[in-house]
């Protein structure tokens, strides 16, 4: 028996096929979910994939956050279902207030696509348990609105509770406060990050690294042994 991982397609989602592929490569049953359906098709975990849902119009993630599927995702996430938001998915999670803070235009005002080094700062979340605490990984990063901001109190709280899950190393590609690349909720089931682990799951393709596969094997182990 394996776990069912759902990947939501919003209008304008781009990396849904990649996330489905990554889930499959990790050994999960990959399930497509549609933004208009509240039904999550009995998946055990959900990935909100990257892209430009609704063209990033208004604010990245702002329109998708109000879709029918998100009603169920929000409800289930609060009840403990694992949810991973990648890039646009992370933006949707902050807009939905499942994760604190907000994403703004990169400080240099350009889209940036690069192979980015990260440190896994929290290897205990549902999506990171296959990494070592402090492990350095390299995965593609590509975004326009990747600058993570939150007020000082929230930032201090995140740090204190170990909820900064990933930090940029070597260079901060977008001006994110405290080099934050990704965060988790207090329960560790909802994780969001800007870089794209689903693009780093096969040798040769993309940057040729497989450092991102751990997200998908982490969740699979958790779900299958649960």
């Amino acid at each position: 028996m394996t776990a069912r991982i759902g990947v939501v397609t919003f209008p304008g989602t781009l990396d849904d096929q990649d996330a489905l592929r990554a889930a499959r490569l990790a050994g999960a049953e990959a399930v497509s979910l549609w933004h208009r359906d509240k039904d999550l098709k009995q998946v055990d975990a959900v990935v909100l994939a990257g892209g430009f849902s609704y063209g990033d119009y208004l604010r990245a993630g702002a329109i998708s956050r109000f879709s029918p599927v998100m009603e169920t995702v929000i409800e289930q996430a609060k009840a403990g279902m694992p949810v991973l938001g990648i890039c646009n998915g992370f933006q949707i999670l902050t807009e939905a207030h499942l994760l604190p803070g907000a994403m703004l235009r990169n400080n240099h005002l350009h889209f940036i696509c690069r192979d980015q080094k990260l440190r896994v700062e929290n290897a205990t979340t549902a999506w990171t348990s296959d990494y070592e605490q402090g492990e350095e990984i390299q995965v593609p990063l590509k975004n326009m609105d990747g600058r993570y901001v939150a007020d000082e109190r929230t930032l201090d709280e995140l740090e204190a509770e170990g909820r900064v899950a990933f930090r940029y190393l070597d260079m901060n590609p977008n001006g994110s406060l405290r080099d934050i690349a990704g965060i988790t909720n207090a329960a560790g089931n909802v994780v969001g990050l800007m870089p794209h682990p689903e693009h780093a799951v096969e040798p040769l393709v993309g940057t040729g690294r497989t450092d991102g596969l751990g997200f998908f094997t982490s969740i699979l182990k958790k779900l299958v042994t649960a």
């Binding site: 702002a62 604190p100 235009r105």
Partner: protein
Amino acid sequence: MARVVVDVMLKPEILDPQGQAVQRALPRLGFEGIADVRQGKRFELEVDGPVDESALARIHEMAETFLANTVIEDFVVKVEESEEGAAVAGESK
């Protein structure tokens, strides 16, 4: 049909690189004397029906939950009046 405007600006404590980029460019273009620039969004809503208190309340709610992200942005809702005296309209050639 009446027009309601919602202005959305980043909160003062949030870094505004777009505004900064504009401000930094100004002296190079020969415009001195601008101490600060902030860039935000302006929404012009064409409202069906009267813009009474209840309509304004609804638009206020819309701004708060949707047009602005109040984690980072402030907003102001205004009923558009005819162009004020001080306004200088720009035309393109």
